[in-house]
């Protein structure tokens, strides 16, 4: 034990004995466990254990999304970073408060929600709104269900839906046009050239398609993280190779979007956009890679993951084409989150048969 660690353990044993400070012990212990791996031995077999742990696991996701986050600064200025910081701070406070009330350990899942949430927002979302959104997401999306591991819905998407339905004007009437060329957004705090619609919105209104090259490299208006399809894809490939996410969900989701829109654009060319445009525009890639793969709120069995992905694809294209909304990724994922346990149950019934009740 070095000095810092000894100091922290002294503080935590002091606060534990002190009736007024008792409840912050958990926070100190959490900080300590993040900084120092305790080096405890496994108590029961197996005595040999994998080195992966939740902190590394969550960190890998943050690492994967980091290029997209950096790109959002490049496109929209340092304000993007401010949104991420606000999300971490406000959400962190909500998370810690809740764990203190419940007297449970603080879990690392928030590391991921805290960065994914602002990346799903339009770049001109007011900072206070970011704070409100993440607090709602953490509390209503996760804590009310019992915390990380027990939530039904993806907390970041719960926060996002709350904002888009409560403040529709602020979150979907104006979009910023990203900067490109030279240092672009790295030289300024914010961008103020606005447009009225994202490529999906433009297609819904006028049937005009944005150039695929721009969609791919990121020269299009949209939410913070979804601007550059290239970087989102790179993050996804990294996570799949690192085995942090399962490849089945993105592959089946994107695959079914492709097939369904190929068929759809042939049958209803005015409503359904062509497949490659569908894949690259809007939040589809970001959602398929970072949101639909959230292990807690998606199905856990392999077969159910395929079914889940296919349903997501069909739903997303349908919302985009036949509803009043130009984008449908968030709603599809939240809706399918509800069905995830059902899909798992179907797979288990198929595999093991129904639950046997004794003495029937």
């Amino acid at each position: 034990m070095n000095r810092l660690e000894r100091l922290m353990s002294d503080i935590s044993s002091y606060t534990e004995d002190n009736p007024y400070l008792q409840h912050i012990t958990e926070v100190i212990d959490t900080v300590r466990s993040i900084v120092f791996e305790p080096g405890v031995s496994a108590d029961k077999s197996p005595f040999l254990r994998d080195y992966i742990e939740i902190k590394r696991y969550m960190f890998a996701v943050v690492l994967a999304v980091a290029p997209a986050a950096l790109a959002s600064i490049y496109f929209y200025g340092w304000r993007a970073l401010a949104m991420i910081v606000v999300s971490y701070v406000a959400g962190g406070i909500a998370e810690v408060t809740f764990t203190l009330i419940r007297k449970e350990e603080i879990t690392e899942g928030f590391l991921v929600t805290g960065i994914l949430f602002p990346l799903t927002l339009p770049p001109n979302t007011p900072l206070w709104m970011v704070a409100v959104g993440i607090i709602v997401g953490v509390i209503l999306g996760k804590e009310v269900f019992g915390g990380t591991g027990y939530n039904i819905f993806n907390p970041a998407l719960v926060g996002r839906v709350f904002l888009t339905t409560t403040f529709p004007v602020a979150t979907s009437s104006e979009w910023l046009i990203p900067m490109t060329g030279g240092w672009a957004g790295f030289k300024q705090f914010s961008v103020d050239t606005v447009t009225s619609a994202t490529p999906l919105g433009v297609f819904a209104n006028s049937g005009t398609l944005a150039p695929l090259r721009d969609l791919f490299f990121g020269n299009i208006p949209g939410c913070l993280g979804e601007s550059s399809a290239l970087l989102v894809l790179a993050g996804g490939i990294f996570m799949i190779l690192a085995r942090i996410i399962d490849w089945r969900v993105p592959v089946s989701y994107l695959g079914s979007v492709f097939l369904y829109s190929a068929l759809g654009t042939y049958l209803w060319p005015n409503q359904v956009a062509p497949p490659v445009f569908q894949l690259l525009a809007g939040g589809l890639l970001f959602g398929a890679i970072y949101m639909a793969t959230d292990p807690v709120s998606s199905p856990t069995t392999k077969e159910a993951k395929w079914v889940y992905g296919v349903f997501l694809g069909v739903m997303t294209v349908s919302i985009r084409a036949f509803s009043g909304y130009p984008e449908g990724v968030t709603y599809s994922i939240l809706l399918m989150n509800m069905f995830a346990p059902l899909f798992d149950e179907m797979v288990m019934t198929f595999r093991y048969g129904p639950i046997q009740k004794p003495y029937k």
């Binding site: 034990m1 070095n2 660690e5 466990s33 993040i34 900084v35 120092f36 791996e37 305790p38 080096g39 405890v40 031995s41 496994a42 108590d43 029961k44 077999s45 197996p46 005595f47 040999l48 254990r49 994998d50 080195y51 992966i52 742990e53 939740i54 902190k55 590394r56 696991y57 960190f59 890998a60 350990e105 879990t107 690392e108 899942g109 915390g147 990380t148 591991g149 027990y150 190779l241 690192a242 085995r243 942090i244 399962d246 292990p295 807690v296 998606s298 856990t300 069995t301 392999k302 288990m348 093991y352 048969g353 129904p354 639950i355 046997q356 009740k357 004794p358």
Partner: protein
């Protein structure tokens, strides 16, 4: 090398073990139980002189195998030894009696063997019984002498498990030098159980080092992949008997399968051809914290002594009985060696409190994921220690535990439903399929006690799914086994 999936071979040291015989002892304590069966009542008293190989405890009216004095000497005390649950490793309330002998001579026995090819099967079985060999196997080796819950006619297959695929664990047999004797041992078994098929199973890596393996009609040789779970007898049983049968639960002998350890054919050879009963066991010692050895030592020698003086005092290290993935912690190195011990692994304790360990590149860190730089250097040897490498957290449903499970069960679902006491749900998830390989707990990023929970769920199975022998104390505070008959009787009472 694997890009995806678990590669535990990255831990192996591949050192040739050093073979030693350790028999210079002053006292030994023969446990009156070793393997399957009730504890025995001593047939000798304090002060008696015993010969090496002499039967010192025997119970003819309950299922048991006699205990033999492993060295000649004077009985000085009848002691009570701590006992541990075979599956969970929990310390039991009950004690096992042991006979402490002050050794007067380190000479072995001078028995004489028989011409096994001319003996009747029944006589061969008797020889195995008298040599103390029938306590092996999940429910004992069936003979005419009440050594098992089953009768010899029920044995359809005999499986010799020669698979040592858990990291570090060595073979107890030197297949180069001793293979001829070993093969004769297999033939003796084939003769002792004339109606059965003998299976000898080896892993692929060991097979490569063997010159010639001829299988005959009666003796089949199987080669399995080098995967850690293949060393589990239940896994091999699934391969030989078919999965559906075993999913029904029950003892392996309910399905006609007798599984025996690697040492058995050699011990049978010695007992029958040389006339030497099973009084010397073999132990493999290995692991990054110690030397690589195979020791042959009299049964009843203190484990510490058997390991060798030079490694006696490594109290810092964790000693595991069995393999590092499925064995149990060995709390007390003074316990005597018993018949069933075959491997000890010593793992170093983890280095305490590393700063931001989760941010380290991790070139030497083995992982199922590729989230460490070790994924880019698969041939680099991985650091093995007994660390948990993280803290327990709620399940995140990554599904890795079910991905690695060799028998396709969903450990996280069993954990969840078991913790909530949802018995019907747990039973549907078929925990009885589990072969105790420990891989689910190995890969879990939340460090949840998966294999342990599945093991407990399996033991709680209703009906006739008693895969495991349970223990309870009898009047004298000694252990006895609950036989299926007992179990049935109880079931009826409680319903």
């Amino acid at each position: 090398m694997k890009i995806f999936g678990l590669d535990l071979q990255q831990y192996e040291t591949k050192k040739e073990p050093d073979f030693r015989v350790r028999d210079k002892l002053e006292t030994i304590t023969v446990p009156l139980k070793g393997g399957f069966g009730t504890s025995l009542s001593p047939r000798v008293e304090v002060g008696d002189e015993v010969e090496a190989g002499e039967i010192i405890a025997r119970n003819d009216d309950s299922t048991s195998t006699p205990a033999l004095a492993s060295l000649a000497g004077e009985v000085i005390e009848i002691v009570k030894l701590d006992s541990y649950h075979e599956e969970t490793g929990d310390k039991l309330e009950a004690k096992v009696p042991g006979i402490k002998i002050n050794v007067s001579s380190n000479q072995g026995t001078n028995g004489s063997g028989v011409d096994w090819e001319k003996e009747k099967p029944k006589n061969l079985r008797e020889l195995l019984y008298l040599a103390g060999l029938t306590s092996f196997g999940q429910t004992g080796v069936p003979t005419e002498f009440n050594s098992s819950l089953f009768s010899p006619t029920e044995v359809e297959h005999v499986l010799i498990n020669g698979v040592k695929t858990e990291p570090f664990v060595h073979h107890l047999i030197d297949y180069g030098e001793e293979f001829t004797l070993f093969k004769t041992g297999l033939e003796i078994l084939a003769r002792a159980f004339p109606k059965s098929q003998i299976h000898f199973v080896l892993d692929r890596n060991t097979r490569e080092n063997l010159e010639e393996l001829s299988s005959s009609q009666r003796i089949k040789i199987h080669i399995v992949e080098y995967e850690s779970y293949m060393s589990k007898s239940k896994m091999l049983a699934r391969n030989i008997l078919g999965e559906e049968k075993l999913d029904e639960g029950g003892y392996l002998l309910d399905h006609g399968l007798l599984v025996l350890p690697e040492i058995f054919p050699l011990a049978a050879y010695r007992a029958v051809v040389e006339g030497t009963p099973f009084i010397r066991g073999r132990l493999s010692l290995s692991g990054p914290a110690t030397e690589d050895r195979v020791v042959e030592t009299p049964i009843g020698a203190p484990i510490k002594y058997a390991l060798g003086e030079d490694i006696m005092d490594k109290a810092e290290e964790l000693t595991i009985m069995g393999g590092p993935l499925s064995g149990n912690k060995l709390e007390n190195l003074d316990l005597p060696v018993n018949k069933n011990m075959d491997s000890l692994v010593q793992l170093p304790k983890p280095q305490g409190s590393q700063v931001l360990a989760w941010l380290h590149p991790g070139l030497g860190k083995n992982s199922y994921t590729n989230a460490f730089f070790s994924a880019l250097a698969p041939n680099r040897k991985k650091v093995a220690d007994s660390g948990l490498h993280g803290e327990e957290r709620p399940c995140v449903y990554c599904g890795w535990c079910s991905d690695v499970c060799p028998v396709d069960i969903l450990p996280f679902q069993i954990l969840k439903t078991y913790d909530h006491g949802m018995v019907d749900e747990v039973n549907r998830l078929q925990p009885q399929r589990c072969v105790d390989c420990g891989l689910c707990s190995y890969v879990c990023p939340s460090k949840l006690p998966l294999s342990e929970t599945v093991k407990r769920a399996k033991q709680d199975q209703p009906g006739e799914n008693h895969n495991y022998v349970e223990y309870e104390e009898d009047e004298e505070g000694l252990m006895s086994v609950i036989t299926p008959e007992d179990e049935k009787g109880r079931g009826e009472e409680s319903e």
